[in-house]
């Protein structure tokens, strides 16, 4: 749209830029505030005057977090749990999604609905029996207990997402390959797989993010040596009362990897997420 007159410009500011700025301020200010808090010295943090940009910038809290509180350990734990969850969920989900998308078989609809309705179960409902099951299996307080519990929501979601992506791919692609003598496995690995790699990455990022961020299972299924980042963050409070510089520094460290991954994958992830709702 070309802006012709002052009046038009004024209207555009009033109906677009101003409300957008207000909403973005509301959505982003907490992050700004978290960052500013993490680089303030104690004196400014708990002084009588609230400063909106630190007078004395310090990265002391980050140093303390890594050297005094060994924050690398929970980061490593989270990374292990999130990576294994992502790989496991992706492999089994892509197989199931391929089946739903390319075959018509008896019970297909029932199975699909089973997957789709899965995220309807409240976490708190599964939490208690899973705790007992993990204890009986002897894997309570190991990364495996978290991986298995996270698959309860990552697999159904990934199947749904990948099924949507695959449905958008024309079947003629594989057909052509199979007419040329390729087996179904070969048609999948040589034709379909390379095309869906970006979708797999987007789905993988989503799984990784949810596992990285999860708290409710993590707090019950981990102990000191294998606790993940969200639990470690919360535990910082228990150890030393509330030290806001450390907490906010931990928060910033937690979201940076997630944000980087999200920005790379967001376009395709958004496409996949919204396709279902819009078509549905």
């Amino acid at each position: 749209m070309k802006i012709k007159s002052k009046k038009q410009l004024f209207i555009r500011i009033a109906v677009l830029y101003l409300p957008l700025a207000v909403l973005l301020l509301f959505l982003l200010f907490p992050f700004y505030w978290t960052f500013v808090t993490s680089v303030k010295p104690d004196k400014e943090l708990y002084g009588s005057i609230v400063t909106y940009w630190p007078q004395n910038l310090t990265f002391e809290s980050y140093r303390k977090l890594f050297f005094d509180f060994n924050f690398l350990q929970p980061m490593y734990n989270s990374f292990i749990v999130a990576t294994i969850t992502t790989l496991l969920s992706l492999v089994v989900s892509v197989l199931a999604a391929y089946s739903f998308s390319r075959f018509r078989f008896k019970g297909r609809k029932a199975f699909m609905i089973l997957f789709l309705t899965n995220n309807m179960f409240p976490t708190v409902l599964l939490l208690i029996p899973l705790y007992a099951i993990m204890r009986n299996l002897g894997i309570l307080y190991t990364p495996m207990s978290l991986v298995l519990s996270y698959t309860t929501f990552t697999i159904p979601f990934s199947v749904w997402l990948l099924n949507g992506y695959l449905n958008d791919l024309p079947i003629s692609l594989e057909e052509a390959a199979m007419i040329d003598g390729a087996s179904r496995v070969k048609a999948f690995t040589k034709i379909i797989f390379p095309i869906v790699i970006p979708c797999l990455i987007a789905t993988g990022v989503y799984i990784f993010m949810t596992s990285w961020n999860e708290y409710t299972f993590a707090v019950m299924f981990t102990n000191e040596s294998n606790r993940t980042i969200p639990v470690a963050l919360k535990n910082l409070i228990g150890q030393l009362g509330v030290q806001w510089d450390l907490l906010t520094a931990g928060g910033i460290i937690t979201i940076i990897p997630v944000c980087i991954m999200f920005f790379f994958a967001q376009k395709r992830l958004v496409e996949g997420l919204t396709a279902g709702a819009v078509k549905g």
């Binding site: 907490p30 078989f105 708190v124 939490l127 208690i128 099951i133 708290y215 409710t216 907490l247 997420l273």
Partner: protein
Amino acid sequence: MILNEVIWLPRKKINIWPYLLIAPALIIVLAMVLIPAVNAVLMSFQSYDLTRPSRIGFIGFGNYIQVFQDKLFWQSLGKTILWVVFGVGFQFVFGFILALLLNKKFKGRGAVRAVSLIPWVTPGVLIGLMWKWIYDGNYGVLNDILLKLGWIQDKIPFLAQKSTAFPSVVVTIIWQGIPFFALMLLAGLQGVPGELYEAADIDGANWFQKLFRVTIPSIKSTIFITTLLRVIWVANSVDVIFNMTAGGPAYSTQTLSIYIFNEANALNLGYASSMSIVLTLLLLCVAIPYLKNIFKNQEA
């Protein structure tokens, strides 16, 4: 459907491939969801308090009777309803406004959209902590802003007093949910054919008429599905409230999920299970329209 003509239909003999392919996912999901769900039902009929191991055993509907006589249960249920109505309601309103704004063309729209989604990918624990610090009664920035604007005379301990704690946590959940709503509704808006607006323009419709007669009816199903999903997620959410107030002060922010979580942490597993079964059944009632919708769309 075109799909059926080109698909490899199993003619008479049963093709085992599709079953083999879904088997791994199915086995994991059944083992990790269905078995625990059945266990939860069984547990809900038992006195199962790990702090009193000698009394573990079946007690029939004992827990459920206790649930329905529990004043705190009803209070928490009421809080859950308010939490969902106000939380999801305002998420929708602001999410819709954001979607309408992002649907306009302007420079840097892609970047703005990506950035505005950040609250959605932020862990609930961190959301709880960030806002707890913002609301802080002594050093909190919200108090400072309100004082500077002259809207309040004295600092308010937002999360520490009964009257302000609940509205404060609701604002936080609204903040968290705006991006997801905006994202879904924006996708819906982009699918509305432009001719509809042109036709409305020719008929001389004003902005409000276009909004209520063209836009909203066109994205009705997106609104419906997104709202239902949000209702279920928000009703189930534990981490945000738990990390801000843990349900206090004086149970004023205790939703049913928080009550169950607190009971589970106190190892009163039987009672917690029976409450979670009640919560699941209530949510199932909400979800029935959603399930019907899925059913319809899977008719193929």
